[in-house]
Symmetry: C2
Subunit: 474 residues, 2 copies
C-alpha cells in the first residue's frame, strides 16, 4: 500500500497531532459506549476505498444527533484535536484517513428521514441517511432522488464530496440538488445554510461552500434536497460500437442536440468482459453505451428514436432494449459493480481511480489518447464513464506490493490529468481532491484560487481541526 | 427619498471613509480620461433602481480590461478606499450606492464576447456584456442563454446578485448556469474559479461563493456560462383566471406534475390594466398566467395540452395562444415593462419592490394573505411573479415626499417577509440583500450563518474595501 509519508508525489501534512488523554476521557464521559477506542473499530474508520494507508484515528464517536456532533466538535476544539466526519466509508480519495491523527466522527446512526415535503418536491434527512434509504422512504410519494454515485453513500458524504454519478447528465449533481444544510461549525455552533425555497439571493451561498468542502469547514448534520416526480415512462437501452470513438461520437451528438437523456454510460470492451463474468451477463464484449430515457411515453419514444438514429450513423450495432424494471436494475447493478468486478479479476490488487472531466467536445481527444497510453503501459485497467458529462474513470489495477506498478499508474494518471487540464477540464469530476489530487488542484485552479480557499479555511477553522491535511496544504 | 442615515429600520454603516486626494491623482495618472470626477458622471453611478439615496462616489473609473480592474483595486487597496463595481445600474436593492464613499468601477466597457464554444454549449464573456448582447452574439449558433431578469443587465451584475427571472423555472438561475469566473480579489490578484467542465469536485466552490456576493468579495471580470440549444418548438399561451388563487393553484399543479414548463408568470388584474395602458395591449383585465413551452413539437404540444386541462379544472378561461415570434416578443416585453408601466401610472412615485420566494405548496397562502393586506393598506401596487419557482414581487408605489407612504410600504414588506420566512421561504428570491434586507437576512439565516459570512468577508477583504456596507454590517 501507499505510505503517504514516503511518496514524494504527494505531500500532505502528516505530522501527527497530540491527542490528550483528557480529551478521550471527556469524550467517554459524554458519549459512554458511543465513544470507542477499540482497535478494530478505529481501523475500520481509518480506511476507505482509496489506496492509501494512515494510522487509525485515536477514537471513534458515534453521533446520534446534531447536538452529539456539536458536543464532539466543541471538545475537539477545546483540545485542538482533528475531527474527521465519517458516513459509510465509500470515499475514493482518502478523505476519511486520520493523516494527522485525531478522532473519527461516525454519523451513520443519524439516519432519520426528518420530513418529506412531497408537495414541494423536497426532503430533509439526517446526514447519515443513505441514498437507497432515502429513495425507499420517498417511494410511496411517487418521487425520487436521482443522484446515484454507485455506492450507497450517505447524503452527508455525497454533499461533502459534491458527488454525482450516472443520472447527473440530466438531473445535475449535489451542487444543483441540495437546497439547504444544517452544519456544525468548527466552533461547535449549529447553523442553517438555506431554506426550502427553490431559489434564493439571500447572502453568500454557504450551502454550496459546504457542498464539496470534504469535511474541512464543518460537519454536515442535515441535508435538504430536491426530489423529482418518478418518470411516467422509463426505458433503457444498450448499444455496442465497433470502437470507443464511435461510442463517444454518439454521446457528443446526443448532448449537442440537447436530448434530455437521463443516463449515458460508456463501458469499454475489457470492462464489459469483467462485468459479464462478475454479474453473469452476456453483453457483447465491445465498447458499449448504456442509456436510459425518462419522460412521458411519447417523449421517451421520441428521445430513444433520435438516439438510435444517431448511434446507427456512428456505426452502433445491436441497439437492445431493457424494458422491464428487473432487466434495468440488473444492468445498472452490473454497471455499478464494474469496480468490484475489476478488483476481483486481479486478486489482491487495488485500483487507482481517475476522475477527469472535460468539455464534451474534447471528450474523444482526452479519452482515446489516454486509452492508448494505458494499453501501452501493460497495467490492467477498467474504464467506465459518465460520458454525457464528459466525465470518465480509469481504474488502474495495481499490485500494492510492487512499487513500479503504482508508479506506472501514477504516471498514467498524471498524464491523463495534464491532458484534461490542457483541454480546459478538471482533475476531479465527482470524487473530490482528498489526499490524492492536492497538487493537481493547484495546477488546475492556480495558486491564487487555492490561496483564497486556504483563507476561507483559516477564517472558519483557525485551529485546523476539521479534517486537516485534505484538499490543500493548510 | 429615503435617507439611509435617518431610517431606523435600516442601519447600514454609512460612515463616510476618507478618499485621499493622492488616490484620485493616482487613478487619473493610471486611467487618464477614463477616471472621471465630473458630478454628472458620479451621480449617474451613485444611484440605481432602488429607492435609496446616498452621496455619489468620489470618482468613476471606466475599466476596459481585467488588468484595468486589477490596477484600480490595487490602488483602492493601497489607499484603503471603498470600490463599488458597476455594470449598467439595474440593481433594485441599493447595491451600487456609495454608502461609505469611495469610487465606482464601471465595467460596462468590458463588453467583449471572448469565446463561443458552441460544441460544448458554453460561452465566455467579459463582465460588462449584457444578456441581450450575449444572445445576439450566439444567435447564429442555434444556442441561447436563458436567464432573463427582465432588465438588460450585465452578466457580471447578474452573477453578483444571483439573478434569475422568468425562465428560471426550467433552466435554473445564475447559481446553476455559471461554470466559471475570472475574479479580481480585494488584493488586486486575478484568479479563476473553475474550468469549462460541466461538473467538478475540485476544491471549494469559489464560483458559487462569488455568485451572489454582491461585489463584496471581489470584482467579477469574466463569466463562463452554459448555453442551451434553441428549442425546436416554442409556444406561448395566456390564460385568465377568476382569481389569483385559481391561477396559483394551476401553477402548483403544473410544478408538482413535473411538467418542464419554460415560463409561468402571474400578473394580477391591476397590473394587467397598467400593462395594457402602457403597451397598448387588450389583455383581459383579470389575473392571468403567461406561459411558455419549449421542446420538440410533440413535446410542446403534450405539455400545453396537459397545462390547458389543469387550467380548465382550476377555472381558467380563455386559453389563448401566441404562436408567432412577434406576438411572443410583444407579450414578454409587456411583462418585463410591468415595472415601468406601474411607475408611470403614478407620476413621481417610487416602487418599493418585494422579492420573497416560498416552497411552491405555500405559495397560495403567502400570496393571498399579502394581497389582502396590500389591498387594505390603500397603497397602489403592482404584482408579478415567477410563480413556478414560488417567487413573486409586489411593487408598492409610494410618493417619496410622504414618509407615511413609505412607512406603510415598509410595514407591508416586513409582514410579507415574516410570512415567507414562517413558511420556510426566503426574503430574496433574486434581487439580493443589498441595503434593504440586511435585517431580514439575519432573521432568515440566523446570527451564526451571518457570522460565517462575515468571517469569510473579513478573511478575503480584511480592509473592507469591496462594496462595504452591503449584505450585512461589517
Amino acid at each position: 500500500m501507499n505510505s503517504l509519508a514516503t511518496n514524494s508525489a504527494l505531500q500532505p501534512d502528516t505530522a501527527q497531532r497530540a491527542v490528550p488523554a483528557a480529551f478521550i476521557d471527556a469524550l467517554k464521559a459524554r458519549f459512554a459506549d458511543r465513544c470507542s477506542t477499540a482497535l478494530v473499530v478505529r481501523e475500520q474508520h481509518g480506511r476507505d476505498e482509496s489506496s492509501f494507508d494512515a494510522p487509525p484515528p485515536a477514537a471513534v464517536v458515534f453521533a446520534q444527533s446534531t447536538q452529539d456532533v456539536a458536543d464532539a466538535v466543541k471538545l475537539a476544539a477545546h483540545y485542538c484535536v482533528p475531527i474527521i466526519p465519517f458516513g459509510v466509508g465509500t470515499s475514493l480519495e482518502g478523505h476519511l484517513l486520520a493523516v494527522q491523527g485525531g478522532i473519527s466522527l461516525d454519523v451513520s446512526r443519524m439516519n432519520q428521514v426528518l420530513s418529506i415535503n412531497a408537495e414541494d418536491l423536497t426532503v430533509t434527512v439526517q446526514a447519515g441517511v443513505t441514498r437507497k434509504q432515502l429513495n425507499e422512504a420517498v417511494k410511496c410519494t411517487g418521487l425520487f432522488f436521482p443522484i446515484d454515485p454507485g455506492a450507497d453513500a450517505t447524503l452527508g458524504g455525497m454533499c461533502a464530496t459534491r458527488a454525482s454519478g450516472t443520472n447527473a447528465v440530466r438531473y445535475g449533481t449535489m451542487r444543483e440538488n441540495v437546497l439547504a444544510l444544517q452544519v456544525v461549525t468548527a466552533q461547535g455552533e449549529i447553523i442553517r445554510t438555506g431554506t426550502r425555497a427553490k431559489k434564493s439571493s439571500a447572502g453568500y451561498d454557504l450551502t454550496r461552500l459546504m457542498v464539496g468542502s470534504e469535511g474541512t469547514l464543518g460537519v454536515i448534520t442535515e441535508v435538504t434536497v430536491k426530489l423529482y416526480p418518478l418518470p411516467e415512462a422509463i426505458s433503457a437501452a444498450i448499444c455496442s460500437f465497433p470502437s470507443i470513438e464511435a461510442a463517444v461520437r454518439t454521446t457528443i451528438q446526443i448532448i449537442q442536440l440537447g436530448i434530455p437523456i437521463a443516463r449515458v454510460e460508456l463501458i469499454d470492451a475489457n470492462t464489459v468482459r469483467l462485468v459479464n463474468a462478475h454479474a453473469k451477463l452476456c453483453l457483447r464484449e465491445e465498447p458499449l453505451l448504456l442509456m436510459e430515457f425518462h419522460g412521458s411515453p411519447a417523449s421517451v419514444k421520441e428521445q430513444a428514436e433520435t438516439v438510435q438514429e444517431i448511434a446507427a450513423e456512428c456505426g452502433g450495432n445491436a441497439f437492445e432494449w431493457a424494458s422491464t424494471p428487473e432487466e434495468r436494475t440488473r444492468l445498472w447493478t452490473a454497471r455499478h459493480n464494474a469496480y468490484f468486478a475489476a478488483i476481483q479479476s486481479k486478486p489482491g490488487c487495488r485500483a487507482i481511480s481517475t476522475d477527469t472531466c472535460v468539455p464534451i467536445s474534447r471528450l474523444a481527444d482526452c479519452l482515446l489518447d489516454s486509452v492508448a497510453e494505458a494499453d501501452a503501459s501493460g497495467i490492467p485497467y477498467f474504464l467506465v464513464g459518465h460520458v454525457g458529462d464528459g466525465n470518465f474513470h480509469f481504474g488502474y489495477l495495481i499490485d500494492p506490493s510492487l512499487p513500479e506498478e503504482r508508479a506506472t499508474a501514477e504516471r498514467l494518471n498524471h498524464a491523463l490529468v495534464a491532458r484534461a487540464l490542457a483541454l480546459n477540464g478538471t482533475c476531479s469530476g465527482e470524487h473530490g481532491i482528498g489526499l490524492h489530487k492536492m497538487d493537481f488542484l493547484v495546477t488546475e485552479t492556480g495558486a491564487g484560487a487555492v490561496g483564497m480557499m486556504r483563507s476561507i479555511k483559516k477564517a472558519l477553522d483557525p485551529n485546523n481541526i476539521m479534517n486537516p491535511g485534505k484538499i490543500f496544504a493548510q
